[in-house]
Symmetry: C2
Subunit: 158 residues, 2 copies
DNA sequence: TTTAATCTTGACTTTTTTGTATAGATTGCA
DNA sequence: TGCAATCTATACAAAAAAGTCAAGATTAAA
């Protein structure tokens, strides 16, 4: 299980833009340079973010990319969903969609319920994390959240 | 973010073996047939599970695959790690490995700490789920665990 | 209006992942 | 022993993901 390259780079580019204080935002060369990727690749990724409504672009001299909203208003889960096509995609057993609680015998549904459990905890973190949480000194928050959940999981187990 | 095909098929094949009550275990044709994959593909995946020490194989007539331990003793996180090469692999910022708590300014470390937060909650579920939890009627457990974590996350947020 | 800086798009190439084929090795049994 | 059932391993092929290239469109400013 892993994040795709596009998810990682996309989120990173978005963070660069969020952290910029230039009035024109950031240009493709600037972003590509900070992230050590080619301009083509940056353009491709920024396109996805623009279509997703996270950034606005303007062309010509003094053009560049800016956030469409404040960092507080951008949810990391939404960003990753846009970059990855979907957040989790469980393949099989679409027969029993919506009735996981009764379908307990097939392997399809065992796996499905496990995938859902994982999806649920990941969403729990990503839906409550905004771009702002990842900027500057605020990223302590995710570490704390992380520790908290670990504790509660252990609690539940004992 | 998603599980690879190998992770999904591997776990599914292992569950088939775990659920079998035949004294010889299951053969490749049987597994391939239940999972609707080719025998070649099943063989490839079963090889990984064998190398990981989750199953034993015996050849010749009356051969097949069996678990090396009871289902209770097989942790889903271990299985997925074997199938996927690793459980999560965060790419960048190896400069600051081990000092995440002080490195708060770079994007590298912001992303890294987010990835770690996600990894932590996923591990929380997968390290506490055994094959037994996924067999028969026991898979309710993962759903309950899931709900529990969701609640605690909401609690923390308010 | 011309130019330079910038974004936009689609096609293409490379790499990685996934899946298949084939030849071989081991075992149990008649 | 010889055969049939089984696993084993490596190389090959197909598909998907990632990354690159090149031509074009828009804009601001000289």
């Amino acid at each position: 299980m892993k994040f795709s390259a596009q998810e990682e780079y996309g989120l990173r580019c978005l963070l660069r833009i969020a952290q910029s204080n230039s009035p024109n935002g950031l240009t493709i060369p600037e972003i590509a340079n900070s992230e050590k990727i080619t301009q083509s690749n940056a353009a491709k990724i920024l396109r996805i973010l623009r279509i997703g409504g996270f950034i606005d672009s303007s062309r010509g001299q003094s053009g560049g990319y800016k956030l469409t909203r404040t960092p507080e208003q951008i949810i990391v889960a939404d960003v990753l969903a846009q970059l990855g096509g979907r957040l989790f995609e469980s393949s099989f057993c679409n027969d029993h969609a919506g009735m996981e609680l009764i379908c307990t015998n097939s392997i399809d549904c065992s796996i499905r319920s496990l995938w859902r459990a994982v999806q649920s905890v990941v969403d729990g973190v990503l839906n409550k994390t905004t771009l702002k949480d990842l900027i500057g000194n605020e990223n302590q928050a995710t570490i704390l959240l992380n520790n908290f959940v670990e504790e509660t999981l252990e609690l539940k187990q004992s």
